[in-house]
């Protein structure tokens, strides 16, 4: 895959990840998991999960993106 395609994919996947983040933390779903009181570290788990996906996206597309300085 060319660096340009990587760049486009990176941008699109980042947007998808942003939407996932919004779904987990900014939607009524956030009220739902906050009211369950499962474990105290649940927010950290969700947060960390999103970041793992972010790192995977970075390794797949962002790391080979051209440094258009």
């Amino acid at each position: 895959m060319s660096s340009r395609q990587d760049s486009e994919s990176y941008r699109e996947l980042s947007l998808v990840l942003g939407l996932l983040f919004a779904l987990l933390f900014l939607s009524p779903l956030a009220d739902w998991w906050m009211s369950r009181l499962w474990v105290w570290y649940l927010p950290y788990l969700l947060w960390g999960g999103v970041l793992v996906l972010g790192a995977l996206i970075h390794w797949r597309c962002g790391s080979s993106e051209r440094d258009d300085r």
Binding site: R11, S14, M34, S35, L37, W40, G62
Partner: protein, 976 residues
Amino acid sequence: MIFDLQVLYGAALFYLFVLFSLAYITDSGLVSVKWVQHPVIYVLSLGVYATSWSYYGSVGLAQRDGYLFLTIYLGVTLAFLLAPVILKPILRLTRDYQLTSLADLFVFRYRSQAAGVLVTLFMLVGALPYIALQIRAVTETVQVLTQEATPQMLALVFCATLILFAILFGARHASPREKHHGLVAAIAFETAVKLLAILLVGLYAVNEVFGGAAGLAQWLAAHPEAVERLYAPAREGPWLTLIFLAFAASFLLPRQFHMLFTENFSARALNSAAWGFPLLLLLLNLAIPPILWAGTHLRPEMNPDYYLLGIVLDAPTWLPVLAFIGGVSSASAMVIVSTLALSSMCLNHLVLPASPPTPKMDLYRWLLAVRRVLIALIILAGFGFYQLLEHNQGLADLGLISFVAVAQFVPGLLGVLFWARANRIGFIAGLAGGVAMWFLTLLAPLLHASGILQEPLSLVFLRVEGAHDPWAFATFWSLTVNSLLFVGFSLWFRQSAEERETARACRSDTFLPLAGVVAAHSPGQFVEGLSATVGREAGEREVAQALQDLDLAADESRPAELRRLRERIERNLSGLLGPQMAHMVINQQLALDSRAKTALADSMRFVEERLQQSRSAMKGVTAELDALRRYHRQILLDLPLGVCAVEADRRVVIWNLALEVMSGVPNRQAVGRNLQDLPHPWSELLAGFARAGDEHVHHLEVQAEGRKRWFNLHKARVWDTSLGPGGGAARERSGLVMLLEDLTDLETLEAELAHTDRLASIGRLAAGVAHEIGNPVTGIASLAQNLREEHDPAEIERSIDAILQQTRRISGIVQSLSNFSRSGAAGLEPARFPLDAALSEALSLVQLTHKAKRVTCDCSCPAGLVLNGDRQRLSQVLVNLLSNACDASRPGDRVDVIVIDGGEEITLEIMDQGQGIPQEHRELVFEPFFTTKPAGEGTGLGLPLVYKIVQEHGGRIELDSAPGVGTRVIIHLPKH
């Protein structure tokens, strides 16, 4: 445990010494730049976001508002996850246009110095409480550890140390082009220290206070309300508002903007930070709930903001000291970076507009000195604010006031990135409205509570009556007023032309090539122009730097390149003086002739670059058209002929690869340059051909790179279709496309072929020559033999004369053969020579070979007839034709050679009485390798070479033959 003030002071001093040393050795180059520029260091340096508010205040905020404290980091996470959409475009703008702060960005986009002043003042007002907060956090932690009131002197010493550090390592260069590696390394180190400290305190809380994870779980089981207290405020509080505020603050706060964009060294590092920085924040916050519960469990008598210290008071000494140092790290990093960012803004948007540079000052020294004074003033102003503050205000409150302040830039920033119609009036009106609401709803109550404002302003009551949550209320109303004014005024008022131009520059999906032509004609004139404002030294340095950036020569004269040079100088000056001042200086001193037509080459280059950048966005027919365009362009570039297209004013637009190789002139040097300005001999060759009436020139000889080269040239007019076909105006405006065909290799090959043919002739002549030499040699031998017995001096003299005569005869033969056989260079070597001499030489050589046939050769040539041409090649013509004539003759036949002087032309006829050439062969005899001679006797190259040589001399050849009667070859040669 109570700590001695001296211990804490000593620990802080030691820590700051380590920090200074690290910055120093990094700046000295002892640490590899590769290490400093590693993405991990970049991510850690962004940890400046986590100030003492995060370090200490998160626990207090968690105690009061539960998991709402996480919003301050979740908002950052969202902003960084969307880095390719939000942060990358800002990074592109800041790097392309050398913008060092948010104020620069707004001034660049809205082309308004007033906007810069407003943004800077507001940033300053918004940041001062935050700086004060850091000083307060340090002094209060000392108070917590020593259980004594902190002397004011300690705060002042802390501020003085920060001033020293910021000046030494943050203001080393006048230009932001130079990155501050020492500063970046030091800030990254500070983040590492606070991360280590907070994680160790968290571990202490779990392991020592609760006896391990199981103990903590037991405690939580026994106190289920502890977890509920975390979640409940998050469900009910301003969760979304705070995430939004943190989202905005993550890149709009001066310190964040500075580390994210100004000190950024690669776009790839930002990609790593997109997940790395939120991960760092997650780790920094992971320990907050255990520390809070440890504090709840131990109940130290202190503000929950300082539980992080309170729970480790009884731990081994190193842990509370490390926790204290972590706090110092958080506070000092924030103050240093914020001050650097604010000093740059104040310099560009407050000081420089009020006191513009003059030619007499040393600009760089002056800028550095002012920046350093500003650093000191800003930190001292923070200290002043700290003394005025009401100390009961929570750390988080002070931080959030700053967050709401920077959120006022969100509408303006959306305008920069996404709304081309936004204008300066809308931006200023919106920002002013938002700032007013921020002041009334947040700052005025704070100042009133601190006793600075005596009377509460009437609008403050809105906050009390209208909402139970001050943050949501203040954020909503300030941003609503801000956005409405911004949009309303932007729609109501028209944009200036400059704003339209920068709006396009800010949108990556629109494009406009540089228009106009610079009035200055050389980099030297640029220096003269700039010197009038910024001084000689700065003028020379900036022009030299821009030339180096663009890889241009100091004698550059192409208008398109000078236009780029002007653009680059403006960008570089923008980093030095701010965008508005740079724009003003450039417009004053390097005026543009906007009526001049933008060079086609320049437009083409920009269109190419733009299409290249947005290729992936093309779809359907557009993508197909682009593929077709690239295919056609590639054909031009890869054509094995040199292609040079020029505009009507003879500026080069296309200079393909073959022409680069042929001429040794690189494309980037040729494109945009006038044909006259190309290096020798291409300027004369191409400019001359462009002027010439002929559309084709064949076999043009050119002396290039110390050797002869030959070209065929062709040209065609490229009509300006916008003016309609064929008209006078269209003719004047039409460009040219010229094709160059390099014949040098072919010429060399032909020279080698001719030489081969000559050697073949020599082979055929060898027997005759040997015989001819053999006779005189026999005569010489006999004479020498007789001389042994001869005593008569007169007879000896006669014999010697006879020997000399025979040797002259041999020398003559050898000389003729040698002249004929020597290897000729490619191309003609014209000279004036007597034709009769060349003719007799050729005749004698040929007669040697055909002596046995007793062919009679009769030559009639006017004496003293001189021909201008390549003697060796023309001799080859004569030898070949005479040999053929003799070969075709029967024994006893005649071969007649007649030369007629026709004034301008010489006609040479060679007639034989041989068998003649059959009709079917006449068309073929000039074709290479056609021969009717038996194998081994003819190469088939003789007549083709004759034809070629005659043509090269501008002559022509005719053939008249009748089978059984004979053949007549007629050659017409121009005399000169």
